[in-house]
Structure formats: C-alpha cells, structure tokens
C-alpha cells in the first residue's frame, strides 16, 4: 500500500511538473533558474518621423568627430525594467538582451554622483544565488536604441534576455 501511495505521489508530481511546463509555454525553459517579474517599459518616441535626408546631411557634416556612428543608433531610445530572481544556488548574470522593437539593445546603469546622473553601459548585471536584482529607473535598465516604433502605453515590448548560466528568457514588458 505505501508503495502504491508513493507511486501515486510520484505520478502526480510528474503530472504537475509537466502541466506547469506546458502552461508556462516557451516563456521560461524547464531548466531556467531565473524568473522575471514586473517587466515594464517607459513610453518612448521612435523619432522615425525625422527627416532622414536632413539628418544624413547633418551626419556628413559631423563625420569628423562621430567615428563611424550609425545613424540608426541616434534614433529614439527607450528603457525596459524588470525584476530578476535567481532561484538557483549559483550566482548568475544578465549578459545581453535583444528586442525586435529596437535596432540595438544594451545594458546600462545610472550612477548618481552628487546631483549629477551618469548613464553608463555595463557588460553584465549580477543576480546573486537565491537573490534578485531589480532593474528600475535611476539604476540598472535595459536600454533600447534605434527604436523601430513608438512605445505606447498598453503595448507590450518583447525582449529576450540572455544569462551567463541560465540560458535565455523571453519577457514581455508592458509599456506605461
């Protein structure tokens, strides 16, 4: 009898696990130890209505100190925020992000020195084992460059996050 019970319990656990995986869909992989919550993006302008001819002429004039800048990179920018929790026992780090909504996606950090805000790119954002990191205004954020369209409240921005150990995770950031 106890053995039957154990079998039933084991079977249920397997079913629950499979159901969870099925319900969660492709959002997070079975082995994923990083969970994302509260993903959102700030409304933003694509700056796509800019007169491209005019801006290209302007670019030519500036070529001297622009060092091979891509004109697209100077388009509209946006920021995506998310809380990343690490359920594993190994420290991890967000190392890259990509999105169809932007030409380039970078990881940035804002440092406040006195009353001055300094935004700088970072190579990775650490997520401690069993802990979490909150990407939020005035701190870490995922920076979208060369936005392909305006980010309007109510929309969702799909972003794929890459981790040092935890593979990839696709999130949808609600624009607000």
């Amino acid at each position: 009898m106890p053995q039957t019970l154990r079998l039933v319990a084991f079977g249920s656990a397997v079913c629950l696990f499979l159901a969870e995986v099925a319900l969660a869909g492709p959002g997070w992989a079975q082995t994923q130890t990083i969970r994302a919550s509260n993903a959102w993006a700030r409304r933003a302008a694509a700056m796509g209505k800019m007169d491209m001819k005019g801006s290209m002429e302007k670019m030519d004039k500036m070529t001297g100190d622009k060092g091979g800048m891509s004109p697209m990179a100077e388009g509209g920018t946006g920021a995506v925020y998310v809380t990343l929790s690490n359920t594993g026992s190994q420290a991890d780090a967000l190392i890259a992000a990509s999105s169809d909504a932007a030409g380039t996606v970078e990881l940035h950090e804002v440092q406040k020195e006195g009353g001055v805000m300094k935004m700088r790119p970072v190579k990775s954002i650490p997520i401690p084992a069993g802990g979490k990191v909150e990407l939020k205004p005035g701190a870490y954020h995922i920076m979208l460059l060369a936005l392909k369209h305006d980010l309007k409240p109510g929309e969702k921005v799909p972003v794929t996050l890459s981790f040092e150990h935890g593979g990839e995770l696709r999130i949808e950031a609600a624009v607000r």
């Binding site: 302008a45 209505k49 920018t77 006195g114 920076m143």
Partner: protein, 197 residues
C-alpha cells in the same frame, strides 16, 4: 562633487530662509530649497513651433524647469512622466502649472525631434532649444551641470552626464524649490499646490 551652493540646502537644514520670499513658508515645502532665495534667472528660448518662450512672461503660473535630452531613456522620461502625473492631479490648478523641458543636447535635439518627443509623451510640456551658447548660459544661471561624454561600449555616439533637479519657479518669478530625482509624485503635488496658493 561639483554642486553649486544652491543645491546644498535640503529642507532638513533650512527652515526659515525663504519665509520672506512669498506667502508660503519654506518649512512646508518637501523639495530641496535654493539658498538664498532668488528670482529665477530669466531666459528666452525657442519652442518646436518656432515661438519664443520667455520665463518672465509666465508670471502667475508655477513653472517646473527640467534640463534633459531626448536621447536619455531613463532619468529624463521618468522625471517628465512624474511631472505630468503631478500635473494631472492639480485639478483646476493645472492651467497655472507649466512643465518646461530645456534640452542640454542641442546637437541631437532639433525642433523636429523635440516636437516628436513631446507628442510621444502626449503633450503637456513645452520643449525648448536654442543656440548652444545660450543654453549653456541658462544652465549656468541655474547651476545645472551637463557634460558630454564619449563612452566606450555603447552604440550611442555620446551620452550626457547631467543634473537631475527640477527647478520650480513660483507665480511671482522666484526660484522656490528644487525637486530631487526620485521625489514622490505626492510630494511634488503637495509643493506645487502650496506655490499655486
């Protein structure tokens, strides 16, 4: 730390210096207080539609001055959206509250770009630009720091380190209070309502 003396007074340290400046006691304001109290430096800059904006013509209104740039994805839009949220909560006082965005990046922020930016935020604020030298003069008058930085590791050709205070001018044209980055919308509404009285 390059902070002009104006920035030093947070309300904990200063209570009465501003009492003489207007009807509202400084001790009631929640933001940072400029010391000494002084008239807000006047300036004339250009709105995207080509019209001139002159600060001294805004008497009777509370004006929130924000120095930012459209390429800034984080600090600037956050500050603007919080000011816009504060504005929504002013009820009838809304007509007497103006949000003004002064670019620190005239190179990128053409009038067309400023117009598009303002539209994306649903309007509600006036974006200003002007000749670089004139913008620098306005920043100096308010003690605003804005330094262009060419930074490795980004596709952006440059970023701008900049002060993150909102300068709030009362209906009499006095610079009365400065909102530090991250000040709550509740506190902003509180201070703006006091100055509108």
């Amino acid at each position: 730390m390059r902070r002009p003396s104006v920035f030093r007074g947070f309300r904990t340290g200063i209570i009465c210096l501003l009492l003489a400046a207007g009807s509202v006691g400084a001790s009631q304001l929640k933001g940072a207080l400029p010391t000494p109290s002084r008239p807000a430096a006047d300036f004339a800059l250009m709105a995207p539609d080509g019209t001139e904006f002159r600060l001294s013509r805004q008497r009777g209104k509370v004006v929130a001055l924000w120095f930012g740039y459209t390429f800034c994805p984080d600090v600037c839009p956050m500050t603007l959206s919080e000011l816009l949220r504060a504005r929504e909560r002013l009820d009838k006082g809304r007509q007497r509250f103006r949000i003004v965005f002064v670019t620190v990046d005239p190179e990128r922020d053409t009038p067309a770009r400023l117009r598009e930016y303002a539209q994306a935020f649903g309007g509600g604020f006036t974006a200003l630009t002007g000749p670089a030298a004139q913008l620098a003069q306005v920043r100096k008058a308010y003690g605003v720091v804005a330094e262009k930085r060419v930074v490795a590791g980004t596709a952006a050709s440059y970023l701008i380190d900049h002060s993150a205070f909102v300068y709030v001018v009362d209906p009499a044209g006095q610079l009365r209070v400065m909102f530090p980055f991250g000040m709550s919308v509740d506190d902003m509404v509180h201070d703006i309502k006091l100055l509108l009285q």
